[in-house]
């Protein structure tokens, strides 16, 4: 994807950081007031903490405000966190999470909420090189799930031509993508890969035969390997888009074409990264739980919503010229977090380090035991078949290099053990990554 950088709302996307903070503060004050005045849940929380809306005089005051959890949203089922009654004329649409465990979380959208959402997705279209002349194929499912309609609204705001495919009937998706000259695809990464493979199966070479040049993919994790696969097969630049139904849907943050983190729509959301145990903010660059406060939402505003997703703020400027700060791609869930010798560690961080060692296979296992009062970490890895293990020196060298990388990345000392092939347990193709045998009480 060549050519100059495209922006949908350059006045926001390249806003002076100080002006942006001022805008955030102004909007935060309004949101806090709205929550306090219109949602009994928040009034009660604020009163318990002895905080009044007018106490918020700087962005730092955000840290004093109460958190909102997914459970709070479930408990509020269906409409108890709405600032506007669901049957009010201003409320245009309802979205809900699947609610596989417990009540669904429900959000209402006014027309302005929908427009804001569309604007953030439209930015993503520009970020991947699209514009008003684009034909946007939306292959996310349409419905209560926020993917399909979120992308659709983005197309509307961009004034692009929308092809509302929803998911399914993949051969027809391929045929229309080709015949209609689609240039931007929006769907999940796994569906994008299926579309690519189906096209190839149908005898096409989409990388050369199709006009598709950009893909805005989200709603599920996508490894770097999978990203390259999608990019090569379809001949596209792929950007990872992030969102969650409780906060808005896709568009809360999105990568630009430099693929170095996701620019957060900071005019509509404040991002915080906190230590999931202490709930204290962590410095930029450090991993923790992502927390969002909404700044523009009218129907379902949220204060300090704990996403349970793990990411970090990436400091520094981006080559694309956007001043909106970037978060890293989601590396896991807080439920997966391990506390090893007082350090927060995520299994995905082990995976990231191991990915840099072509000598080891992708299967690994973390075994935690106690040695006296201390946690002891054993990491079992398997070497790839090509690895020459005849020289013990080579195995020892590999162990030391992995250990060194883990130590510098995770601040945790790890005993790396090379294991026999297939000795690392696999269940249904998905390995049990962590075995915690520590004595409890620490």
């Amino acid at each position: 994807m060549a050519g100059p950088e495209r922006y949908f709302q350059p006045e926001i996307e390249k806003m002076d950081p100080e002006a942006l903070r001022a805008l955030q503060l102004e909007r935060l004050k309004k949101t806090v007031e709205l929550c306090y005045e219109s949602i009994p849940f928040y009034k009660q929380r604020f009163d318990q903490l002895g905080i009044r809306p007018e106490d918020v005089i700087s962005l730092d005051d955000l840290a004093r405000l109460p958190f909102t959890t997914k459970q709070d949203m479930r408990d509020a089922y269906p409409f108890n966190l709405f600032a506007i009654p669901a049957d009010d004329a201003r409320v245009q649409r309802l979205h809900a999470s699947s609610g596989t465990t417990g009540n669904a979380t429900v959000c209402g959208y006014t027309q302005n909420d929908i427009d804001v959402w569309g604007d953030t997705f439209a930015r993503a279209i520009a970020q991947v090189g699209g514009g008003a002349a684009s034909i946007l194929q939306v292959s996310y499912g349409y419905g209560l799930f926020t993917g399909g309609l979120g992308a659709h609204e983005g197309g509307i705001r961009m004034r692009a031509t929308i092809l509302p495919m929803s998911s399914g009937n993949t051969r027809r998706q391929v045929q229309m993508m080709k015949d209609f000259g689609v240039d931007i695809l929006a769907c999940t990464p796994s569906y994008a890969l299926l579309i690519a493979d189906t096209a190839i199966e149908m005898g096409y070479d989409p990388a050369n035969d199709f006009k598709v040049a950009g893909a805005i993919l989200g709603a599920e994790p996508c490894s770097e390997g999978m990203r390259r696969d999608i990019e090569n097969k379809l001949g596209v630049k792929m950007v990872d888009i992030y969102g969650l139904s409780e906060v808005m849907g896709p568009g809360v943050s999105c990568e630009c074409r430099y693929q170095t983190g996701l620019h957060v729509a900071e005019d509509h959301f404040i991002i915080e990264i906190v230590d999931p145990k202490t709930l204290q903010a962590v410095p930029d660059g450090q991993w923790g739980e992502v927390v969002f406060s909404t700044l523009s939402k009218e129907c379902s505003p949220l204060i300090r919503y704990r996403t349970r997703d793990i990411s970090r703020i990436l400091p520094g400027e981006c080559a694309c010229g956007r001043t909106l700060r970037r978060m890293d791609r989601i590396t896991g869930r807080t439920d997966d977090m391990l506390i090893i010798r007082g350090v927060n560690v995520f299994p995905s961080q082990f995976q990231e380090v191991l990915a840099n060692f072509p000598e080891v296979a992708s299967h690994y296992q973390i075994i935690l035991t106690s040695k006296g009062p201390l946690d002891y970490v054993t990491l079992k890895v398997e070497t790839v078949p090509e690895f020459d293990f005849d020289e013990i020196r080579k195995i020892e060298n590999l162990r030391q290099r992995i250990n060194g990388e883990l130590k510098s990345n995770l601040q945790v000392s790890v005993d790396v053990q090379v294991s026999e092939p297939k000795s690392i347990e696999r269940s249904e193709g998905k390995a049990r990554r962590v075995i915690d045998l520590r004595e409890k009480g620490n």
């Binding site: 005849d390 013990i392 090379v418 294991s419 026999e420």
Partner: protein
Amino acid sequence: MIDQIVVFLENKKGRLAALCRAIGDAGISMHALTVADTANYGVARIIADTPARACEVLGAAGFRASLTKVFAIEVPDKAGGLASLLETFDAADINVEYAYCFTVEGGKAIDVLRIDSSLNVEKIITGAGFRVVRPEELYR
């Protein structure tokens, strides 16, 4: 050079026995076996008949087994025989990764050495008055 079977072994009870059983059950004769041990794992090095097949048999039995090329050298049965060979390598700045010794029929001592084969090692060995043993002299 000869083919040596190398097997990675975790330090788990019964793995070495299982390895020998797998080769034995396949009707393959083993001529030499040595295990290099660390705290966590071992590497078994084996000279056996039909090395490629032995390797397959072990792979099928769940072992990580591969073949490596090593030098087999007949060492004269007299004091300092091996020392003078190793001194020759030292002088030529050739690194010997490991060495082990076994005897074959007739009481001859065979030294197995892993040396970077890209160097002209064979010439140095013969030049120093030693004989490089051919595969067919050791295994079928």
